[in-house]
């Protein structure tokens, strides 16, 4: 009976939410991007005098007067226009992981999954895969500003390789102190670059580097640096999680 009423309630909410939001969806589907912040982000014309104007020149490879030259606009938004969000987001992850470790870390020590026999094939392949996967992770977050990847994805892949090592080799142990240093280092560097922005340009996380040519690796000013730091930080954090759950004291 309770379930019945739950369904009724949920359906009613769906009705109200849906029908409340639909008419305006229509309005804004029609003139979709033109009045949105997203438009100026795409055109890199935030600080232009008429932010909503269309820029008709081809950006790629020639435009040097845009605000940042990251080919990936999503990355521009994440690491440049809304970098403060990303700082918060990185911290959320950092803190949540700290919390998880605080809650479970101690009680899970010595509970490492040790296999009676190592898996020969896995063991052998992990030795080759480890550098390659890490390399790939690095590749992802280094190219975050020109490809769809980014710090979080890259970091996840790097940490995944640590997970693989724990499952492949019984005697593998992550040097977690190094990871902690890396984590702190990258977090601090993020902030320091932000503060340098204040010192040099006047605004927190404001770019003070050359923008380069869009689509090239060395482009986008601070963006790749920040994203690499995010990648390193996430790598270190997630690796630490793996360590806490898998590692023994």
């Amino acid at each position: 009976m309770k379930k019945f009423w739950a369904i009724i309630t949920v359906l009613l909410i769906l009705f109200f939410l849906g029908s409340g939001l639909i008419p305006d969806l229509k309005i804004y589907k029609q003139n979709n991007l033109s009045q949105k912040t997203g438009k100026v982000y795409l055109n890199r014309t935030v600080n232009d005098d008429s932010p909503f104007k269309e820029i008709d020149k081809k950006l790629y490879g020639e435009a040097n007067d845009v605000e940042n030259n990251a080919a990936n606009s999503v990355t521009s938004v994440i690491v440049d226009y809304r970098a403060l969000d990303t700082l918060g987001e990185v911290t959320v992850l950092f803190l949540a992981i700290t919390g998880v470790i605080a809650l479970l870390g101690k009680s899970k020590k010595n509970n490492r999954i040790l296999f009676e026999k190592p898996n020969y094939i896995l063991n052998a392949s992990s030795k080759i895969l480890l550098p390659l996967i890490v390399l790939f992770g690095f590749y992802i977050f280094i190219h975050g500003h020109i490809t769809p990847g980014g710090g979080f994805q890259g970091g996840t892949i790097v940490a995944a390789s640590v997970l693989m090592m724990y499952f492949a080799q019984n005697n593998y142990k992550l040097k977690n102190n190094r990871m902690k240093v890396l984590e702190s280092f990258s977090g601090l560097s993020f902030l320091i670059f932000g503060l340098l922005g204040i010192f040099i340009m006047g605004d927190f996380l404001q770019n003070f580097l050359e923008l380069g040519i869009m689509g090239k690796l060395f482009s986008g000013g601070l963006i790749p640096i920040i994203y690499i730091l995010v990648g390193l930080k996430v790598s270190a954090e997630l690796s630490n999680v793996v360590y806490e759950f898998m590692g023994e004291e």
Binding site: G20, G99, N177
Partner: protein
């Protein structure tokens, strides 16, 4: 010397990121980092308050102009609210490092606390809806960690579920707003949120009402409050009672003022009713409690209800600031000190139930007097700070002909006076149970309490100047 409000967010974060490294070197050394950071924060704040005027200014980040980048809003009034919040955070922090550091996982807790301060500052400062969501989540996670400090796993779970529910609704609303207004900047949302259907506004409003009620301790999402207050450490209770709740309330008010400032009568009417219901129910339930922490928790809920209803009443007609609004902000400021003082004091006595606090004033005279100052301030006894907030509130409400509001407020105030005085009576005039062990209170703790009492008395004797300093928070350069 750089004078950017963003420093208030960055400095604690910096300390937070530094802690893991320092922890590797020395486990004790991490104590000093947060203290230094918050002190520095206060220092920066004083500087910022000095150089900023009372009109609202927008600080850009990343060099992107308003409203496209993430902006922080700041003026001297916000500075003062922030100063109070950070001061309380500092007090809680000092207390934590002195007394509770060794208890559980000092590393995670210290980290959680310092990052929470950053998040709380972010919540107060940010002028961007999604950024507010991020900081709210950050503060919430810090809150979850702090809530588990004394193995209160179930309350913490409850808190997570309820708060996540709220923040998901908030996110839903934020995205919807972005979709129709094309911006996430609070102030510019309100300018672009035109030509939308009334149903849309209703749905959006309700979404925001329910979403924001979790952190601001409003019904129906405030059930976590008493549970968490009850089961956390002293530091935790101060954090929730004075630091987080104030910042969250301020953030909610900010959203209401900046985003919904004009023409959302239904939203504000509903909020007024919800706020008043929260006020009454909070006071009713507090009336029945015999545990000080629960009393403070429910009274905190009630205060939040009062503040929100007063704010929404004052915003209903589309005018941003008037005397009711200012009185509500004054109340917000006062609550920081009074609640902090009571929670700290009672925490220092070490017991929360009436049974155990019986007659404890006879053994701990000075501490009891200090607690009493906090209590008298909350119940609105002149000449303490709390009296003036009631004074200003009643005055402004009557000036706006809100007689029913005043009646409800007064009825609830009488309940409040009753149960707080019952607490005092229990503390002073009951027979002390000799089996109860009396905790020693260190000089530092006394110092912390005295400084809070001083604030209460100071405001009590300078009400109009303090009122003048924090009033009209949101006037000025709204774009």
């Amino acid at each position: 010397m750089i004078n950017e409000p963003v420093l208030l967010i960055v400095i604690p974060l910096f300390a937070g990121f530094l802690i893991p490294i320092i922890y590797l070197i020395s486990k004790k050394a991490i104590k000093y980092i947060p203290i230094i950071a918050v002190f520095y924060n206060l220092f920066v704040l004083i500087r910022l308050i000095q150089i900023n005027s009372t009109s609202l200014s927008y600080f850009t980040t990343g060099g992107y102009k308003v409203p496209f980048g993430i902006n922080l809003i700041f003026n001297s009034q916000i500075g003062i609210i922030l100063f109070a919040i950070n001061l309380l955070a500092l007090i809680a922090l000092i207390f934590f490092l002195k007394k509770e550091f060794h208890l559980v996982n000092s590393f995670a807790y210290t980290l959680g606390f310092i990052i929470a301060i950053s998040a709380v500052n972010g919540m107060v400062l940010t002028g961007d809806l999604f950024n507010l969501f991020v900081f709210m989540e950050l503060a919430a996670i810090a809150g979850y960690i702090i809530a588990t400090h004394k193995r209160g796993y179930y309350p913490s779970f409850l808190y997570v579920i309820i708060s996540t529910f709220g923040s998901l609704l908030f996110l839903l609303g934020t995205i919807t707003i972005y979709n129709v207004s094309g911006t996430l900047n609070m102030a510019s949302v309100s300018e672009n949120l035109v030509d939308v259907s009334p149903h849309f506004i209703v749905v959006l409003s309700v979404m925001f009402i329910v979403a924001l009620s979790s952190e601001s301790e409003l019904l129906p999402l405030n059930a976590w409050v008493p549970k968490v207050y009850e089961k956390t450490s002293i530091t935790g209770s101060i954090f929730f009672g004075s630091v987080l709740s104030t910042a969250a309330l301020f953030a909610v008010i900010k959203v209401l003022v900046l985003v919904f400032k004009g023409g959302y009568e239904y939203l504000f009417n509903s909020l007024t009713i919800i706020g008043l219901a929260t006020l009454l129910i909070g006071e009713f339930v507090a009336f029945k409690q015999r545990n000080v922490r629960k009393i403070v928790a429910y009274s905190s809920i009630a205060q939040a209800g009062l503040i929100i209803s007063a704010v929404s009443v004052s915003l209903k007609n589309g005018t941003i600031t008037d005397s009711i609004f200012n009185a509500a902000m004054f109340q917000l400021l006062n609550n920081i000190f009074a609640k902090g003082l009571i929670l700290l004091g009672v925490g220092l006595l070490g017991y929360y139930s009436f049974e155990k606090l019986k007659g404890i004033a006879g053994k701990k005279k000075f501490a009891s007097i200090l607690i009493t100052i906090g209590v008298l301030s909350i119940i609105g006894m002149p000449p303490f700070a709390g009296f003036w907030s009631k004074f200003f509130l009643i005055k402004s409400l009557i000036a706006n002909k809100m007689i029913i509001f005043v009646a409800i407020f007064l009825a609830s105030a009488i309940f409040e006076v009753y149960y707080y005085l019952r607490f005092i009576q229990n503390m002073y005039y009951e027979e002390f149970d000799s089996k109860i062990k009396i905790n020693q209170i260190s000089a530092v703790s006394y110092f912390l309490m005295i400084s809070l009492s001083f604030m209460i008395i100071y405001i009590g004797f300078n009400p109009s100047s303090v009122m003048k300093t924090i009033s009209d928070i949101f006037t000025g350069g709204i774009i």
